[in-house]
């Protein structure tokens, strides 16, 4: 167990290091001189050289990388070449917004998938169960941004119940915040809920066939209580894995959904900074997303072992 943990941790650290080099190199070769971008087209060569020196752009790539990653490790992502502002506060500000979306999306997905999947499993050869399976297959094919556009059409344009976009911070006006969160969360969560439903259904079906569930039933528990007390914990093992991986999907999916709903999250920041040639900001966002995916995968691996005693012994 400890050996497994140490090995996974080592792999994680190496992956993080390699990923950061990849992100740095990739965006360091971005066409366009950051000094030129910062100063505009009328800058004199001397001024350009000065600014390059000031940004540290005249240093070799290795030095630039080490400076950057050194700062990142202590939470300093540098100052934007374009706006001159510190990158870190902006990035973490936007991360907060994106996490609200992802969290709410995940909640929607779970609220759909757990009841629907369990229901479909318990009726798996009846029409109602098959209907849910079919609907989830359809839901998988609908991209989040399409769901978003359609939800806006119905709930914002037609019924005028909810705002079609924009963002109100929760501490400013909680009610507006919630109203603004509903549609983006639904568009992220509906699709992931459809995906998750298929896994919940299959996991519950597997558990329903197990001997311990039959034993629980023989001891006099009703089917529902047997499933609730003995089945769901076991069914959770494969579902948690998928859930973790979906977290990564949601983070990236948020990039598109933020564009639909004009939400100032990480995704909008990434698209804007790429558009403005704001190298350091783009680098910070990409790194943050990649690190998030790697960390999520790491935690999922650990949870998978922790939740499944059989794997624990084998390791």
């Amino acid at each position: 167990m400890l050996y497994q943990f140490a090995r996974r941790l080592l792999i994680l650290l190496v992956s993080l290091a390699v990923a950061s080099v990849a992100v740095f190199l990739f965006l360091a070769v971005l066409p366009g001189d950051p000094a030129q971008v910062a100063l505009g087209v009328n800058a004199t060569p001397e001024l350009l050289a000065n600014t390059r020196h000031e940004f540290g752009l005249d240093q070799p790539l290795v030095v630039r990388y080490l400076r950057w990653i050194g700062g990142v490790c202590v939470g300093d992502f540098g100052r934007s070449y374009v706006t001159g502002d510190a990158v870190a506060p902006q990035v973490f500000d936007r991360l907060g917004v994106t996490l609200w979306l992802v969290g709410a999306g995940m909640l929607v997905a779970l609220l759909i998938a757990v009841p629907a999947g369990t229901f479909a499993a318990t009726r798996h050869r009846r029409p109602s169960g098959m209907l849910i399976s079919g609907a989830s297959q359809l839901g998988v094919a609908v991209p989040a941004f399409l769901a978003g556009v359609l939800l806006v059409r119905v709930f914002a344009v037609q019924l005028r119940l909810l705002p079609s976009g924009g963002w109100t911070p929760p501490n400013q006006d909680p009610v507006e915040f919630l109203r603004g969160l509903i549609l983006p969360a639904l568009s992220l969560g509906l699709v992931q809920g459809a995906v998750l439903t298929r896994y919940v259904r299959s996991a519950v079906l597997d558990v329903l066939r197990e001997d311990y569930l039959r034993t629980a039933r023989a001891k006099g528990l009703t089917p529902f209580r047997a499933l609730a007390r003995h089945g769901l914990r076991n069914a959770a093992v494969p579902v948690v894995t998928v859930l973790g991986l979906q977290l990564a999907t949601l983070l990236v999916g948020a990039v598109v959904v933020e564009r639909v709903f004009v939400v100032p999250g990480l995704g909008s920041l990434l698209l804007d900074s790429v558009g403005n040639r704001d190298l350091l900001t783009a680098q910070a966002v990409v790194l943050l997303l990649v690190v998030a995916v790697l960390l999520v995968n790491f935690v999922v691996d650990l949870l998978y072992t922790a939740l499944n005693p059989r794997l624990r012994q084998g390791a």
């Binding site: 094919a141 941004f145 999907t249 990236v252 598109v256």
Partner: protein, 293 residues
Amino acid sequence: MTESLGGAQVPHPTGRAATRVRGGRGLSLAVGAVLVGAVLLTALVSFAWTPHDPLLVDAAVRLRGPGAQYWFGTDKFGRDLASQLMVGARTTLFVGFVAVGVAAVLGTPLGVLAAMSRGWVGELVMRANDLVLAFPALLLAIMFGAVFGSSTGTAMIAIGIATVPAFARIARGAALSVLGSEYVLAARAAGRGRVAIAVRHVLPNIAGLLIVQASVSFAIAVLAEAALSFLGFGTRPPTPSWGRMLQESQELLAVAPRLALVPGLAIALAVLGFNLLGDGLRDRFDPRLERRR
């Protein structure tokens, strides 16, 4: 097996669970084939004929409703929606073919290599694989777009690279089981080299699973291309693309929701088609499946 939605990879249920997740086996294959066939046919026909010039801007017929002349109506520039949809099918399939091609050509040999050399080479390949997995297609494509300029080309290469790990994993898993078989042992005993074994024994035997993966990956590529064009990082105007049609429809959602519905439905049906086709094919090709029902 992995399936990815909007980027990250989700493991496919295998074994008993897989049989059930998929359900109605013959039906999946048939419906999938019909949907994919329809997209393919639409794209092919568009080379020879479209009802109108998809790029023809005509202010006199802006935002016409559906009818005999314009089947799905026209957009804000008076362009025929049906014709754009037909040519857009070409874009979708083109991106899918190239992306899946890149992924299969790079991923399959890597997976087979990882299976055949189980020492540090195999380990290195699979770790590198996991690292690429941390760069979802969408993110990679935005990075590619930033560096090389956004175009259909950068989008499909990025989607292809992001899909490599899916192929490498499938190829590795399947190759491992083939390598354990007696005929490979016999071939080894007969003195065949590693490359010969890989080409003559491993590849033909894992081809079925790779075809299944190709179909599933195709669905993901269609989604990714649509998302990228929606964000402005994919196919550039004026080339019609379903994702961009959807993006352009957003401002007119109140007036003409069909502008969103038509390309949206096309994307969803194409993705559904490739997913179902993949499911159906897996039932044919995956030897690990129990024939239960």
